[in-house]
């Protein structure tokens, strides 16, 4: 028995078993375009921030958003930096079909401020300005309340810095409230509670204004001294009150954000894509295998073996690298079939040439493999080079395609050169007078 041959075979079998184990043990992660879901790209508006601070602001924003997602019940949703500008974030939400609520949740800055009211209400902003001769008193600001159902809005003049801010809040939760709608209850930190108590004690029976993101939510009258807990009215419905509480708990965003891209795929479309992809792969594979067996006869079986093993290794590698399989990834996998066949054809045609030149089967085999190998290295390297540049795209889909193709190229070099060669060697070692059936017409077959 041929010792090295046995060793090589054992190596292949071990790889095979390891791959099979990996596929069984680790689930293959599917991209949002296959399992359904929404992916959002958010831009943090950092125009007013110096480039040095931008990184920090974006990172803070990212953390706040992650906290919000967690609070919403979507745990383990990573929010990743995206693109080359440094102020974009990618959010991937599996299984979310209507993203409008989440989008509002993510987009609201949730900057809460509580002011004392110095004047108002005024019907319009210009009205308010006229009352003060066109110049607002030092340190005061004008805020408009939320428009009511009939589109009217009231304006108030508020003074000084806010008494408390969102950062002073220790906790926030929702209570059903009364006929006026749900209320959001909050608790203040110790430090702020002392401040708030002094303020409320001194301003009993006066108006105060709760301002959220530069808009007045409500204008409560201070009825009594409040220490460490209070309530906010003005939410239109329960959901809004819940979201407000959630955002207050998770903290305010250090900068405003906007959604610059949204992609939503319904799960059924993703399932269609998977089905179509598998069908395309199976059809391509069947056509290729049929042709190889017909054209190269017995040698075609070796190519088929290499092809199947390549597919197995590719899937195993994807699961091991924890890669996400996307639709372009499936396309990449189908294309790998094409590449894998090319290697086999290249080698087989070379072997045929050697046989025609009158070499013995063993020599033809050895020469064919070694001569084709140089070409294979060149073709594989150039494809890897072109794939490498696909990584310039920030888009996960294109990266997935490139990654699948590169992995496929590597596994292909292993299967078409190494595995296929071992298969040939086995056939040789079993016969006394080796003969090589590679589909050449009778008289030329060695």
């Amino acid at each position: 028995m041929n010792r090295p041959l046995v060793r090589r075979t054992l190596f292949i079998v071990a790889t095979l078993l390891a791959s099979a184990a990996a596929i069984v043990r680790l689930p293959l992660r599917l991209g949002l375009d296959l399992r359904g879901g929404t992916s959002l790209i958010l831009r943090v508006k950092t125009d007013s921030v110096s480039p040095l601070q931008q990184r920090e602001v974006v990172e803070q924003t990212r953390r706040v958003l992650e906290r919000r997602m967690n609070a919403y019940g979507l745990a383990e949703i990573p929010i990743q930096p995206y693109g080359s500008r440094g102020n974009e974030l990618l959010v991937q939400l599996p299984g979310v079909n209507d993203s409008s609520r989440l989008r509002n949740l993510l987009q609201s800055r949730a900057v809460l401020e509580w002011y004392s009211v110095a004047g108002g209400p005024y019907a319009t902003r210009t009205d308010a300005m006229e009352q003060h001769g066109g110049v607002l008193p030092y340190g005061s600001q004008l805020f408009g309340a939320r428009p009511t159902a009939d589109g009217k809005s009231e304006w108030y003049l508020v003074s000084g810095p806010p008494v408390i801010r969102g950062t002073d809040l220790r906790n926030a939760r929702v209570a059903p409230g009364n006929t006026e709608g749900p209320i959001t209850l909050f608790t203040l930190s110790q430090d702020a509670a002392a401040r708030f108590e002094r303020f409320t004690r001194a301003n009993i029976d006066k108006l105060s204004a709760i301002v959220l993101d530069h808009e007045i939510l409500s204008v409560p009258v201070i009825e009594d001294a409040i220490r460490d807990s209070g309530q906010i009215r003005g939410a239109r419905n329960m959901q809004e009150a819940e979201d407000l509480a959630l955002n207050l708990r998770s903290g305010a965003l250090p900068a405003a954000i906007e959604v610059i891209q949204e992609r939503t795929v319904e799960a059924s479309l993703g399932a269609d894509s998977i089905r179509d992809g598998i069908r395309a792969g199976a059809a391509g594979l069947a056509a290729v295998v049929a042709f190889m067996l017909f054209y190269y006869r017995a040698a075609g079986a070796n190519a088929t073996l290499a092809l199947m093993l390549n597919g197995l290794l590719l899937i195993a590698a994807l699961t091991c690298f924890d890669a996400v399989l996307t639709l372009p990834g499936i396309a990449g996998a189908v294309l790998t079939i094409g590449m894998a066949v090319d290697s086999n054809v290249l080698i087989f045609e070379r072997i045929r040439e050697e046989i025609r030149a009158g070499r013995s089967p063993a020599a033809a085999l050895a020469n064919g493999f070694s001569k084709a190998f140089a070409t294979l290295v060149d073709t594989h390297v150039t494809t890897v080079v072109s794939c490498a540049f696909l990584f310039f795209f920030g888009t996960p889909a294109v990266k997935g395609f490139a990654a699948t193709l590169v992995i496929g190229l590597v596994t292909n070099l292993f299967t078409s050169v190494f595995v296929s060669r071992v298969a040939f060697d086995w056939e040789f070692s079993r016969r006394k007078s080796p003969n090589l059936n590679i589909g050449l017409t009778k008289h030329a077959d060695a």
């Binding site: 891209q261 319904e266 069908r279 059809a283 396309a331 294309l335 072109s386």
Partner: protein, 300 residues
């Protein structure tokens, strides 16, 4: 079975029979691009929104169109599939105003038309992201070309690298031109297909060039023209077989891969056909001309 056996075609002698149709395709594509003001970019590159909507019965396309156009400008409403019997409609809107309200706006409009629909997918992309992607696509293509040129110049000679890259550019331009003639959109996945076929075309060229190099080393009495012809003949069956088999994979993607991958598969199918003959009839003549110029210039 053997497709080609000891062929002795004079490929370089009949190069014009292939270069001319190639030029015709090239010019036709470029004219189409010029007339249409560049390739038709999808929303990936120019921004905007696309909604894929499935209807319970045959979709009332005309009514959807009037309803959506009344609210938004520049709307296009088309059937999602070429095949009959599909109830899916693609509604595209150019990027204007607020992306966040687009979806709500569209669903409200659709509900006013009929209740029997479901949204299969929705994409909204800001114009700046599109501009970014265009830049990335150009960087990726330029980078990939330069990278391959350098590798080939190092492994072979500069002339080989240049000839291969010119053939590759030829394939890419023809494919983009044909897509423009067919009025197909260039989306992100089509660009991925373009980059893949660049790789394929390169593969084909390299297999021929590898053989030319090998033959040059073995038989030095032969003229370059004879060596190139002989090398193309020797690799002919591999070229035809591989292209045929890769074409099978691409065709199965085109036929069975589903609507989402349609553009990708079409670009790839065109590219494989063009890429195969370009390695024989474009790359090799360029290599011959370049090397002969060098020889007569006395630098060889």
């Amino acid at each position: 079975m053997e497709l080609f056996r000891n062929t002795r075609y004079d490929f370089l002698g009949m190069k014009w029979r292939f270069i001319l149709p190639s030029l015709v395709l090239l010019v036709a594509g470029l004219i189409s691009l010029a007339v249409k003001g560049g390739p038709r970019y999808s929303i990936d590159f120019k921004g905007g929104a696309v909604m894929d909507v499935e209807w319970k019965g045959a979709p009332p396309i005309a009514r959807i169109r009037t309803a959506v156009s009344a609210r938004l400008s520049g709307v296009s409403v088309v059937a999602a599939h070429d095949s009959a019997g599909s109830n899916e409609v693609l509604i595209s809107v150019p990027a204007e105003g607020d992306l966040a309200s687009l979806r709500q706006n569209l669903t409200q409009t659709l509900s006013s038309v009929s209740a029997g629909y479901s949204i299969r997918s929705f994409e909204a992309i800001g114009p700046e992201i599109g501009a970014d992607l265009r830049k990335q696509a150009l960087t990726a293509t330029a980078g990939a070309s330069t990278g391959m040129l350098l590798y080939l110049a190092w492994r072979f000679r500069l002339a080989y690298g240049v000839a291969a890259v010119v053939a590759m550019a030829h394939d890419a331009v023809i494919t983009v031109g044909l897509l423009s003639l067919l009025n197909r959109e260039i989306s992100l996945t089509v660009v991925a297909a373009l980059l893949t076929l660049i790789g394929y075309s390169m593969n084909d060229t390299i297999v021929v060039f590898d053989r030319i190099r090998e033959n040059r080393q073995m038989v030095q009495s032969e003229s370059l023209l004879e060596t190139i012809n002989r090398s193309i003949n020797q690799t002919l069956s591999r070229t035809v077989l591989t292209s045929g088999l890769t074409l099978l994979s691409a065709l199965s993607l085109l036929l069975f891969g589903g609507q989402v991958l349609r553009g990708f598969s079409l670009a790839l199918t065109i590219g494989i056909v063009v890429g195969t003959y370009s390695s024989i009839f474009i790359a090799s003549p360029i290599l011959l001309t370049w090397e002969n110029r060098l020889a007569t210039g006395g630098t060889k």
